[in-house]
């Protein structure tokens, strides 16, 4: 029977759980001045959690537990690797930022580790209940982290907005899931896929359509796709910057992973309902996200709208393939590649924002004028990440855009070409506002009076995060094969 537990397969999760408990205990026993040991324990825990992933990847094959509802295959491993690396970078960014605040460090790391654990569970979920638990474990700690600065009204507002919309989206998604269960009598993805044909054919097809739409709307909130994006800019601005980085990368990626495996593994039979919805969401997210980003003055809000637009780009391959009725596996691997590259360059951009905000003392783009003249290294890194987000070769972003357009071309058809045109126009618009940040940093003169501490050097951990993200962004741009490995690995799921 399927209830034997394969401890190696869930070793990353177990190590994280042990770290979480340890961080809580450490926080309790350590004296106030030694609280930074919780940070060290968290970083080490996440590093150790990556080791079993490597062993499992070398070992290969698919391991199923609990009657197949928890599966560790190469696809799950790729995404777990992404979540762990991204979580690691966010932890590195957090160390100096959280230390500077007078708030509680131990709980911060506890919550963020819980969220990373949730995203790992998410990648392995192969039934509705595990998917739901993974998603909630990812987002529930973030409600609290968004409101981390308790005394700051903006942080409170960020957390309440995120909370209400997050819980609302959960309720909508759950109602959709309960209807799917009622129609098919199954909670496992395989069972639903087999049962969905009968449900779509009978008189229950309206209920099925409603269920699928509710699920899409629920995930739309999680990945902040237009028209369900309005919480994102406010929450991103009000939350502490490392948490914003986490929200825009891990939490968005977890939402995407959940949506795609659910659509791909469980609901391909209902694609006539979700394909048009994804198409509209993709086109609207790209256009509205980019147009709104054009008029932003605050750099975090600019990145918030940019991440909405990037979510639109990420939806393009799947929407195009589903609308034209071609094989979804190519689109699936294109989305995974985009997700991996986006995560690295966006985390890099947020690391630059954290370092730059300390130096300039402001989050306004105009306030960053001349940053390149007094800190050339940070200026170069800012240019690397922002040009990469714009998709300029030889930085990683171009390959993400390339695989996206290639998968659309493979799909073919009128509506997909229309989507490709919208995506191409939006890539050009996006270049303008990314370039504006770089222009401000390099071409504008520095203001005479400095708000921040220009001599400030980023803490060692933040510097490490900047270096890792920068090296990966350049390396993947020059050797795109590094990223396409992830795409190929996720194609295994398509075959199986």
């Amino acid at each position: 029977m399927g209830f034997e537990i394969d401890y190696l397969a869930i070793a990353p999760e177990l190590i994280l759980v042990a770290t979480i408990v340890m961080v809580l205990v450490l926080d309790f026993v350590l004296p106030r001045r030694a609280k930074y040991f919780t940070a060290i324990a968290s970083v080490l825990g996440v590093t150790f959690a990556a080791l079993p992933l490597l062993i499992l990847a070398v070992d290969g094959g698919s391991r199923e537990m609990f009657d197949g509802s928890y599966t560790v295959d190469t696809f799950a491993l790729v995404l777990k690797g992404l979540f762990i690396v991204a979580g690691y970078l966010v932890l590195l960014m957090s160390v100096s930022y959280i230390e500077g605040d007078r708030y509680y460090q131990g709980e911060y790391y506890f919550l963020i580790l819980c969220s990373i654990l949730g995203s790992l569970v998410m990648a392995s979920s192969r039934d509705l209940i595990v998917l739901f638990i993974g998603l909630e474990l990812t987002t529930a700690p973030l409600f609290m982290l968004a409101g981390w600065r308790k005394g700051d009204m903006k942080s409170n507002e960020a957390s309440l907005k995120y909370y209400i919309l997050g819980v609302l989206s959960t309720a909508l998604m759950l109602f959709g899931m309960s209807l799917v269960f009622g129609l098919t009598g199954e909670v496992s993805f395989d069972g639903i896929r087999e049962g969905i044909g009968d449900a779509a054919a009978g008189d229950a097809s309206t209920a099925l359509g409603l269920a699928v739409l509710l699920i899409i709307v629920g995930f739309g909130f999680k990945v902040s796709a237009v028209p369900f994006h309005f919480w994102a800019p406010d929450t991103y601005e009000g939350a502490p910057t490392p948490v914003t980085a986490y929200l825009s990368v891990n939490s968005k990626a977890a939402g995407f992973v959940g949506m795609l495996i659910l659509m791909y593994l469980a609901l391909p039979g209902a694609s006539n309902y979700w394909a048009p919805a994804l198409w509209i969401m993709a086109a609207a997210s790209m256009t509205i996200g980019n147009l709104a980003a054009l008029r932003q003055q605050n750099i975090v809000r600019l990145l918030a709208y940019s991440s909405i637009a990037q979510a639109g780009f990420m939806l393009v391959p799947f929407a195009a393939a589903a609308v034209s009725g071609t094989d979804l596996s190519e689109a699936f691997s294109a989305t995974v590649v985009y997700l991996v590259i986006y995560s690295i360059m966006n985390l890099g951009a947020f690391a630059v924002v954290i370092a730059g905000a300390r130096k300039t003392g402001t989050g306004d783009i105009d306030g960053w004028a001349g940053l390149g003249s007094y800190d050339a290294r940070l200026g170069v890194l800012a240019a690397v990440f922002f040009f990469s987000l714009a998709g300029i070769p030889p930085l990683a972003g171009w390959f993400a855009k390339f695989v996206m357009f290639r998968s659309v071309m493979i799909a073919g058809g009128v509506s997909t070409v229309a989507l490709a045109v919208i995506a191409a126009v939006n890539s050009v618009i996006a270049f303008y506002y990314y370039a504006r940040v770089v222009k401000s940093i390099w071409l504008d003169g520095a203001p005479a009076t400095a708000l921040g501490d220009r001599a400030d050097t980023p803490a060692g951990s933040l510097r490490l995060a900047l270096i890792i993200a920068g090296v990966l962004t350049v390396l993947v741009g020059i050797y795109p094969t590094l990223a396409s490995v992830f795409g190929d690995a996720s194609r295994v799921l398509a075959a199986g």
Binding site: F143, E157, L160, Y163, I164, V187, G238
Partner: protein
């Protein structure tokens, strides 16, 4: 003539509860009342799961309800903590007054 309560009745009731909850979120502006509406929606989900599980003779539905209940309880704890934090600073639980950021 006897009245037989079929699963369809429960489904209809669940759909009604869900609609009331969703409507409440849209029109009420007090964060506490919005919480209650979300709870109503989650209970509609539970009712659907139980009714469908019973009708299909499948225990998975009941099992799902336990998970939904636990997660709902955890979320209420988080939500109330956020509201208390806000209330301490401005003596109001109206979401309309929370508009520090815009654009």
């Amino acid at each position: 003539m006897s009245l037989v309560v079929t699963p369809g009745w429960y489904m209809t009731l669940a759909a009604l509860l869900f609609a009331i909850g969703a409507l409440g979120i849209l029109i009420r502006r007090n964060a506490l009342v919005m919480f209650m509406c979300i709870e109503l929606m989650l209970n509609a989900v539970n009712l659907t799961f139980v009714a469908a599980g019973r009708a299909l003779g499948n225990l998975d539905g009941q099992m799902a309800v336990f998970f939904v209940l636990v997660v709902a309880a955890a979320e209420v704890v988080v939500g109330l903590a956020i509201i208390v934090a806000i209330f301490r600073r401005r003596e109001s639980a109206s979401v309309d007054e929370l508009s520090e950021m815009a654009g």
